[in-house]
């Protein structure tokens, strides 16, 4: 990400005001590299089949 754009977004975040704020509990996303390879395979097959 462009550092200037990141700075702009961080500034915008800092301006927000909480209202009865709820804090989520987000689960970490773990990707198996095999999933990526499988996905690339599927896309290549799709492309080959038009």
């Amino acid at each position: 990400m462009d550092p200037k754009e990141k700075e702009r977004r961080l500034r915008e975040k800092a301006l927000r005001k909480p209202l009865n704020d709820i804090i989520l509990d987000v689960q970490k996303g773990v990707i198996d590299v095999k999933d990526i390879i499988r996905y690339i395979d599927e896309k290549l097959k799709e492309k080959a089949n038009g």
């Binding site: 990400m1 961080l10 927000r16 209202l19 689960q27 996303g29 773990v30 590299v33």
Partner: protein, 131 residues
Amino acid sequence: MAKSCASAVLDAALQYLEDNADRISVCEGQPTTYEHATSTKGVATGKKLAMSSTPTFTGPAPGDGGGSSRKTAVDAEPTITVDASGNGDHVALCKSGTTVLLYVTTCTLQALTLGNTVTIPTWDIEIGTPT
């Protein structure tokens, strides 16, 4: 036989997310399309309860899984205004220009109320070492 993957390969995937994600949303139910993730619940097929256009990332960096695993941290997204009441249980990252749903993860179900705010704390996306 051992398998391996250079960190640069995994970093490229994570960097793609960092360079392209410009929306982060909290959804009720799993979003499987861009419209699900970005249209407010009650509008067409929308599942979005809250959305911010300021996602930022820190990384890529070595993953917690060891080996060549890599991760990027999605920075905290504080006090996003809730656009529709509902039960938030998914978080999505999207690219607005080409309307692509990039990444979806789950969160512990939380009831959100229209007009209040919701904070998404920092969380990681990790690509594991090949097994």
